[in-house]
């Protein structure tokens, strides 16, 4: 670390930092964050530890970020078998099954296809799982509590173009998408979605999709639960029915309060979190703060975000940062003064369909106590009189 150089001038010059007295570092081919920001990392959780470290999730540290784009290095990961070292030269995308012309595509050929660019969030349907199932609210940051959520400018090929070249037969109603990873992760996707706005994503924030996010190509289904956006996509198998793959049979089905279950729950519900302030932070004294957070919905653009600083009795409308894009994270902001009293902060989002976030107890009432998927309940933060910000159920 740079220190302070001794004052140089005879007269009353202030001390000056030593880095202004030397030549700086040379240019470099690929930049990284400052060394002082090395703590800004994804929060890695390996629930089975060393027994199965390739099953893991790592959350975006939203409490340390301020825009709407997630830097690619901090995009959340959920791995069902680790991050494969896919060779882009060997990798192929196959389209087969109920098609006129089974086809395979290599990466170079795909570079000539028409592309679209669109900013979309991805959210694991297991995001916010601790708040769903922990009996007492866990004291952790937004990285651990809500980090399985990120926002990216994706660029790639409309899936409809590739499927049309293969020629989907009339009886082709579903597509089983398979990843090029160890477990060959597979999900069944309705053909409607693939023909509508699905993308074969090749670029993430301008550069090639990162290994963690599916290098060299992934499926992008705007608004759908993260798991369906198959990474390292290698096969689209057109079928007449869903295959009931592992994830859609168990892991990504929700147990309801009545003991039954729901399957094929694709859309991510309207949701918001206040990131500033948020749990693990300490207020730096009374006075002005800007409440800032993120809102999103799998159904379309965010229409409104309201903030309560009195535990939900009264609400004020926050400003939404333009451009408010469909199925993308939207930042909201509201000026506010903290007068030092204990305060319960909440945010409540509404989307363009009129859907509004439920309270935690409303949400819990729908599901079996064990369910931790699709938790879009309102998040409450308690500010203590000492200025500690805590995760609470309210």
């Amino acid at each position: 670390m740079a220190g302070i150089a001794a004052p140089r001038m005879a007269h009353s010059e202030p001390v000056i930092p030593d880095w202004v007295t030397v030549a700086g570092e040379r240019a470099r081919g690929y930049g990284m964050p400052a060394g002082q920001e090395a703590h800004v990392q994804r929060a890695i959780i390996e629930p089975f530890k060393d027994i199965a470290p390739s099953f893991s999730f790592s959350g975006t540290p939203h409490q340390r970020l301020r825009g709407t784009i997630t830097p690619s290095g901090l995009h959340f990961e959920v791995h069902h078998g680790g991050r494969p070292n896919v060779d882009p030269e060997q990798h192929r995308l196959m389209i087969h099954g109920l098609v006129e012309r089974p086809l395979k595509f290599d990466l170079d050929s795909l570079g000539r296809y028409p592309m679209v660019t669109a900013t979309h969030f991805l959210e694991c349907s297991g995001n916010s799982l601790f708040n769903a199932i922990m009996p007492e609210p866990m004291q952790a940051g937004c990285d651990v509590l809500h980090g399985l959520l990120s926002n990216t400018e994706w660029t790639g090929i409309p899936m409809s173009i590739l499927l049309e070249e293969a020629g989907v037969k009339p009886e082709g109603l579903w597509v089983v998408a398979v990843g090029n990873d160890g477990p060959s992760l597979a999900r069944s996707i309705p053909i409607e979605k693939l023909m509508d706005d699905a993308m074969l994503a090749l670029y993430q924030n301008g550069e090639r999709v990162r290994p963690e996010q599916g290098y060299p190509m992934r499926l992008l289904l705007p608004g759908y639960e993260g798991n369906m956006n198959v990474k390292w996509l290698t096969s689209l198998w057109v079928t007449d029915a869903p295959a009931h793959t592992k994830d859609e049979s168990g892991e990504y089905t929700e147990l309801l309060a009545d003991g039954s279950a729901v399957k094929f729950t694709f859309g991510m519900g309207v949701k918001s979190i206040i990131t500033h302030p948020s749990a693990t932070m300490t207020m730096s004294g009374q006075g002005y703060y800007e409440i800032s957070g993120l809102a999103w919905s799998g159904s379309g653009p965010i229409r409104r975000v309201e903030i309560s600083a009195d535990g939900g009795q009264s609400w004020a409308e926050a400003e939404l940062v333009e451009p408010v894009l469909s199925r993308a994270l939207t930042r909201f902001r509201l000026p506010w003064r903290w007068e030092g009293a204990p305060t319960l902060l909440m945010s409540r989002a509404e989307d363009s369909t009129g859907a509004v976030q439920p309270t935690r107890s409303e949400w819990k009432a729908r599901y079996d106590p064990s369910n931790f998927l699709h938790n879009n309940a309102i998040q409450a933060w308690q500010i203590t009189s000492e200025g500690m910000v805590q995760n609470v159920y309210a």
Binding site: F48, I51, A52, S54, F55, G81, M94, I95, H96, P102, L103, K104, F105, D106, S109, L110, R112, Y113, I161, E164, E165, A166, V176, V178, P183, S184, A186, S188, P190, K193, G223, S235, W237, A241, A243, H244, T245, K246, S249, G250, E251, T253, E254, L255, G259, S260, A261, V262, K263, F264, T265, F266, G267, G298, S299, A355, R366, S370, H374, N376
Partner: protein
Amino acid sequence: QGPDLGQPLSEDEIPSYARYVMPDGRGLPAGGGTASEGAAVYAEKCAACHGETGIEGPVMPPVGPNDVWAKPAGRHWPYATTLFDYIRRAMPIDAPKSLSDDESYALAAFILSRNGLIGDGDAMNAETLPAVEMPNRDNFTDVWAKQGAEPW
């Protein structure tokens, strides 16, 4: 008029994991196995992660629920075919695709028999596996069919 740069894909280029065995059994290969055969493979290759009897975990227990997992595969999943396909493509997690078709049938049989859905000696194969009546099958609402992508 797109670029039309896809190359013809022939059947022998498509690996089995590019498809999925369907609930009605389409895609199941020849071969078969029983729970008794599966027990030995399970003890050797699976128990360390999923628990000696398939209940203890720590990883999601395929046989019975435990404190951290309420949806065991052998009970919650609607179709037994998924057991065969998932095990064959993905398990053990450190050596996916290392199991033979026979071993995968036997392991599915093991999990099903521990759940009391088939007998210890019942061979699971392309005919018997899809015929197993999974207890939870009719306990699902198909949300896509009901309301599309609208959240539940």
